[in-house]
């Protein structure tokens, strides 16, 4: 078994400067009415313009090379921006996927002219990306994907469907895996290839899927002879399995993995007031301690990324612990809020937030790698598999 490492990271001074800038920016946006930190069920109206303004600040593609529009800043600086956006409940959905997952994949696998075309636009906040992994009959088991890419003149024809693709209804591009060969007996993960897909391609239909939160972020995406040119192939043919694992690491330990329901904690603190009883004080104290410990683990992983390491197991642990925590948080806050005074100024805000957070909770340990898959990864890292 390899020892787990979570070295304490002290965020460098430039991070604190940056944090101030981000906070000032967000305060302006809130004041201008772009979004509200108190209303999770926010519609998408201003997200597009917000995205461009974030891009203009240089906060998308922060760690990428300057030649592609990036800013060559550190993972720790990126971390600070991400957590401030998340805590403020800023509408990041139009650029976050591109920033976190799609951009890094393109950087690594796309041909130069595509990188030069697309990456700067991502950095400017102009492009929204979706990820096409799951299919109706393959959820956690990515390698069971069946949607075909069939070779044709100058490219590939795609047929089949993807599901649970967040933001597909507003995405400009999707990065997806398609079946280019059958799997083999020796390697059931063989035969899938990664592609960049322009969502304006004819033959793509996006069907929104209603969620129990009342939102419609999820979609089914149906491909009917949709054409993808050769230069949109990303990485090795039939070899997506070599790429998928490391890419998922980006998904696994950012502050977004434990802060999704954080807003209820802030409002609980507000609701109980400055002089809570022992019960409320203990409840808040434990939740804050748990949050703090998770954040320090997560910052530590960011530090390892910055140092060029690949902390796959540590990142999986952060996500496992983090998503279970953010899933239970609304229920614990509900318990603690049971005796909040009727006249607490934010009672209604808190109640509405709790309703939304409790409805959101089930998906937190499912999206982007389920608890079961994560624990399998951790067990493998421990040498058990």
């Amino acid at each position: 078994m390899t020892a787990l490492r979570f070295d304490p990271i002290r965020l460098p001074r430039e991070c604190e400067e940056l944090r101030k800038e981000v906070r000032a920016f967000l305060a302006e946006e809130i004041a201008a009415g772009t979004f509200s930190p108190f209303k999770p069920l926010r519609e998408d109206a201003d997200a597009r313009e917000f995205s461009r303004r974030v891009g203009a600040r240089g906060w998308i593609g922060m760690t990428w090379p300057k030649q592609y529009g990036g800013h060559e800043r550190s993972f720790l600086e990126r971390y600070v921006v991400t957590e401030e956006m998340r805590v403020a409940n800023a509408p990041v959905r139009r650029f976050f996927v591109a920033d976190r997952q799609s951009g890094p994949v393109l950087l690594r696998y796309a041909p130069e002219h595509i990188k030069m075309d697309i990456l700067p636009r991502i950095c400017r906040g102009e492009l929204c990306f979706a990820i096409g992994m799951s299919e109706p009959n393959s959820g956690s088991d990515l390698f069971a994907a069946k949607t075909r890419a069939t070779k044709t003149d100058g490219g590939w024809l795609i047929n089949g469907s993807k599901i649970w693709t967040t933001s597909a209804h507003m995405a400009d591009y999707m990065i997806a895996i398609f079946r280019t060969s059958a799997s083999t007996k020796e390697n059931r993960r063989h035969g899938l290839t990664q592609f960049l897909v322009n969502m304006k391609t004819p033959g793509i239909r996006v069907n929104p899927i209603g969620q129990i939160t009342g939102q419609k972020e999820f979609n089914e995406v149906v491909f009917t002879d949709a054409f993808v040119p050769d230069d949109h192939q990303l990485g090795e043919i039939d070899g997506a399995w070599k790429q998928a694992t490391s890419e998922l690491a980006y998904e696994r330990s950012g502050p977004e993995r434990f802060l999704e329901t954080y807003y209820v904690l802030t409002e609980l603190v507000r609701a109980v007031g400055p002089d809570p009883d022992t019960r409320s004080a203990e409840g808040i104290g434990r939740l804050v301690a748990q949050l703090h410990a998770m954040r320090r683990m997560s910052v530590s992983v960011a530090g390892m990324l910055q140092a060029g390491k690949e902390p796959v197991v540590e990142a999986s642990i952060v996500k496992d612990v983090g998503t279970v925590w953010e899933q239970q948080l609304p229920h614990r806050v509900r318990d603690l809020a049971a005796f909040v005074e009727e006249d607490a100024g934010n009672r209604e805000t808190l109640e509405n937030q709790l309703t939304f957070a409790i409805r959101t909770a089930p998906k937190l340990t499912i999206q982007g790698g389920t608890t079961e898959v994560l624990r399998g990864i951790i067990a493998r890292g421990l040498g058990l598999r």
């Binding site: 078994m1 020892a3 787990l4 979570f6 070295d7 304490p8 002290r10 965020l11 944090r19 600070v80 957590e83 401030e84 805590v87 904690l265 802030t266 409002e267 603190v269 507000r270 109980v272 007031g273 400055p274 002089d275 809570p276 022992t278 409320s280 004080a281 203990e282 409840g283 808040i284 104290g285 434990r286 804050v288 301690a289 748990q290 949050l291 703090h292 410990a293 998770m294 954040r295 320090r296 683990m297 530590s300 197991v313 540590e314 642990i317 952060v318 496992d320 612990v321 079961e372 994560l374 624990r375 399998g376 951790i378 067990a379 890292g381 421990l382 040498g383 058990l384 598999r385």
Partner: protein, 354 residues
């Protein structure tokens, strides 16, 4: 926190491995291993690592001492090394020279208070003092009418009612009945019983994190060796997932404890940010100890419940250390009150302050 490049930590680990092997100690019912271990630790300058050279110590960094304590946790060490380090640090705060030999500190619970009388003597009672019976001296935080003092007292002058912790380590009740200290100096500005309690809490957090690290390692190893239903139990998904959870608890404990230690090592004062770090460490490590110990025992089955197996050295100490220098409930209430008093909009800035 195991930093192989660090000479102080490497020295400590070598001594622990040579003279405090858990397997060997577990079969030594007479405690004969203690004297040579303590001697080796003393010769390496470890018990007084945090004491400046002019006050009789080794003058090591706070960071080094914390790393040694974490390593001691990985060996479930049951000699008062952490306590002596803590006592030395406390005396150093008031520029009192540290004597040789094992020390401990009082109070070890936020409920207890030692009074500095007008005549310079000390009065009061403190419960759950680790290793009081086997220490020569004790470093005391005492409260006068409106002052805080740090004192050095010979344990021979105290009444000591022996007790045992959950892990059967000495955890004694000591009574000061107008006891004259060997030395007594005013504490520095801003220093009070809470400061000492926070520092003690971080020390215990590091020990818990070390013990949990070992619980994970021992349990993973056992799961790979133990066969049931015709395969190693580590091949069962239920066991794998339990061990993954144990890894999560161990990781959270390590992150929280080492973060708090690092924060203190680089801080100018025990401010709210340090309070958050130290209190969170103790709370999270205590919570992790409960879950981790339960899983480690579950994986081991009946064998882990026997005195012959080393598991209990780690599991029971991790659980016992929860109680010293403020329980998780104590710190949770204190932290929650502080968070509430600062107000909702100051919560995130505090959490994100490092």
């Amino acid at each position: 926190m195991a930093d192989a490049d660090n000479i102080v930590v490497a020295t400590a680990e070598k001594i622990f491995a040579d003279l405090a092997d858990p397997q060997t100690i577990n079969h030594d019912n007479d405690g004969r291993w203690k004297a040579p271990l303590w001697q080796a630790l003393s010769e390496a300058g470890l018990p007084l690592a945090w004491v400046a050279e002019e006050f009789g110590g080794a003058g090591a960094d706070l960071a080094d001492g914390f790393a040694v304590i974490n390593a001691a946790g990985r060996f479930a060490l049951s000699v008062p090394l952490a306590e002596t380090l803590l006592a030395g640090w406390l005396l150093q705060q008031a520029s009192i020279a540290s004597p040789e030999g094992a020390m401990t500190v009082a109070p070890a619970s936020p409920k207890d208070r030692i009074t500095l009388n007008a005549d310079g003597t000390l009065s009061g009672r403190a419960r759950g003092i680790p290793f009081a019976g086997s220490a020569k001296h004790i470093a005391v935080v005492a409260h006068g009418a409106d002052s805080v003092a740090i004192a050095l007292v010979e344990t021979a002058r105290l009444r000591i009612d022996a007790g045992l912790s959950l892990a059967n380590d000495p955890s004694d009740t000591i009574t000061f009945d107008k006891v004259a200290p060997s030395a007594c100096e005013p504490a520095p500005a801003g220093f009070d019983a809470t400061t000492s309690m926070l520092m003690g809490g971080v020390v215990r957090s590091l020990q818990i994190a070390g013990a949990l690290d070992q619980l994970l390692e021992i349990s993973v190893r056992y799961a790979g060796e133990r066969v049931a239903f015709e395969k190693p139990i580590g091949k069962f998904q239920a066991v794998q997932h339990n061990l993954a959870r144990l890894a999560g608890e161990s990781a959270a404990a390590t992150a929280a404890a080492t973060s708090a230690a690092d924060a203190i090592a680089h801080a100018d004062a025990f401010d709210d940010a340090i309070f958050l770090e130290a209190a969170s460490a103790k709370i999270r490590c205590a919570e992790a100890a409960e879950k981790a110990a339960a899983i480690a025992h579950q994986v081991h089955g009946a064998i882990g419940f026997t005195t012959e197996h080393i598991l209990h050295r780690f599991s029971l100490r991790a659980l016992a250390w929860r109680d010293d220098f403020g329980s998780d409930s104590h710190w949770a209430v204190a932290l929650g009150r502080r968070i509430a008093a600062r107000g909702a909009d100051e919560l995130w800035p505090l959490v994100a302050s490092r």
